[in-house]
């Protein structure tokens, strides 16, 4: 009979479970009534179903609810353990502010780092003054070499100060020069309608004193530019936004090469600082100048006899030729 109706077991089980529609229910009932084998099979299935459904009902162990609540407490999922909505929102806002602050700090640090790196790279790759002449010149006279390193190279340049209070600044400079620079080391001021000039031929020491003095009114200077004469075909090196300390640093270098290098260095740094926000680089440069610009003096390595110049020649210490011009800004 099973072979005649392939799904007879499915039909009988569905019949048992009341899952047949009315038509199929009637058909199966008819089959059962007319086929003893099918009726017996249905009985076996029914008994089997009854056996399983007669298994004793097991209740959950005592404390199940408490265990579930404990698990939920552990996971902080129960409503009582959950944070109030307002507190949660407050923490979210705090987190967002903290995140924004951290991002801004990161961006600022990145900008600072890039500026410093750019300054360093520029100082390395900046174009150098190409010298057409040899660095060392040997004279043809045998056995006589002049130790030129002992005679500091003079510093020649012009300092242009632009200010919105030219008369006040000029008066201060006049007094500072009169007070600090001997009369034989300066020329009289040349007043003009738009400018006033002073020419100094003085020692480095006196220049330092004068610059220290001028530093006290530097905040009244809108623009300070130092033009360093190089006695080279390239002409002058222009150092914008120069400070009194930088002027002293450039002027105190004993040879032209170092003066040029120092002036170029400051020119590059000052330009970078002017472009950077907050001028942080300028502060860094000012603090690290002395450490960066330390160039050893040339050392004579020849075994030939060295003759020092007469003392009368070296005692002339008026190595600074500086013209200070005050302009109205």
């Amino acid at each position: 009979m099973d072979h005649e109706i392939p799904n007879i077991d499915e039909l009988l089980n569905s019949f048992l479970d009341g899952e047949l529609d009315a038509r199929h229910q009637t058909e199966v009932q008819r089959l059962i009534n007319h086929d003893k084998q099918i009726a017996e099979r249905l009985q076996v299935l029914r008994n089997c179903k009854r056996l399983v459904s007669s298994l004793p009902y097991a209740e959950a162990p005592d404390g199940m609810l408490e265990d579930i609540k404990a698990s939920l407490e552990g996971k902080k999922l129960t409503p009582s353990a959950a944070e109030p909505v307002s507190f949660s929102a407050h923490r979210q806002r705090q987190g967002a502010r903290h995140l924004l602050l951290r991002r801004l700090t990161s961006v600022a640090a990145m900008i600072g780092l890039v500026a410093v790196l750019a300054a360093v790279i520029y100082s390395i790759v900046a174009p150098q003054v190409v010298t057409n002449k040899p660095v060392a010149v040997e004279k043809s006279e045998p056995a006589v070499t002049v130790a030129t390193a002992e005679k500091p190279a003079p510093f020649t340049g012009r300092l242009e100060l632009k200010t919105s209070s030219p008369s006040e600044v000029a008066a201060f400079i006049n007094k500072a020069i009169e007070y600090n620079i001997p009369s034989d080391e300066r020329t009289a001021a040349v007043p003009g309608k738009l400018r006033e000039s002073h020419t100094l031929i003085c020692s480095r020491q006196n220049l330092r004193v004068l610059m220290d003095e001028l530093g006290t009114i530097w905040d009244k200077i809108n623009s300070a530019t130092l033009l360093v004469n190089t006695d080279r075909p390239e002409g002058q090196i222009v150092v914008d936004a120069v400070t009194p300390e930088q002027i002293i640093e450039i002027a105190k270098q004993d040879d032209f090469e170092t003066q040029i290098k120092t002036a170029k260095y400051f020119a590059a740094m000052n330009n970078m600082a002017e472009l950077s926000p907050g001028k942080e680089v300028l502060i860094a440069i000012d603090n690290s100048t002395l450490g960066l610009i330390t160039i050893p003096k040339p050392v004579l390595t020849s075994s030939e006899k060295t003759i020092k110049k007469p003392s009368a020649q070296t005692e002339d210490n008026r190595e600074v030729h500086l013209t200070i011009t005050v302009l109205e800004h």
Binding site: L65, L77, T78
Partner: protein, 199 residues
Amino acid sequence: MTEAANISIDDAVLVQQCRQGDSAATERLIRKYQNRIYNAILRICANPDDAAELTQDTFVKVIENINKFEGRSSFYTWAFRIGVNLTLNYCQRNVKLGLQSLDAEDSDDSDDKGVLKKFLTDDSLPDPAVVIENKELCRIVVKALMKLDDAQRAVIVLRDIEGMNYAQIAEVLDTELGTVRSRLSRARTNLREIMETLL
């Protein structure tokens, strides 16, 4: 209005209250279904300790995901679906666990087997009270159940122990109605054959 409909309305209210953080409603939902879910899980995995742990895990998962319950099915079938899935996954990892615990309790009581044989062949329906009182008979039935594969055992438990209709079983097992029908038929046939071999 039928009782089933009333239960379903109550569940919807409790679920809503549970979502709003009402711990009393959460407790009521757990109390309402903990025994039924525990019993079904026990009949599938056959180990009381594992059944207790799986029931606990089921309710933790139910409460965790209560906001994801969309109400397309009843809460009852949704909770059972979670419980049965957890149990079937557990059984797959520990295939022999249920059989081992039953093997240890195996015995050879010919009187009980005679009762079982009578039940299987007798024209009259077996008396449930007799089955419940006869512990050895229960063990044989449970052992036979455990010899079925997990899917067939689950469908028999849901239909013959939990009393779900085919549509609810299809929902719990996430399968087609026709699959439930054929799987249940094969499961009962296999169960009968297994029990006969045990006699």
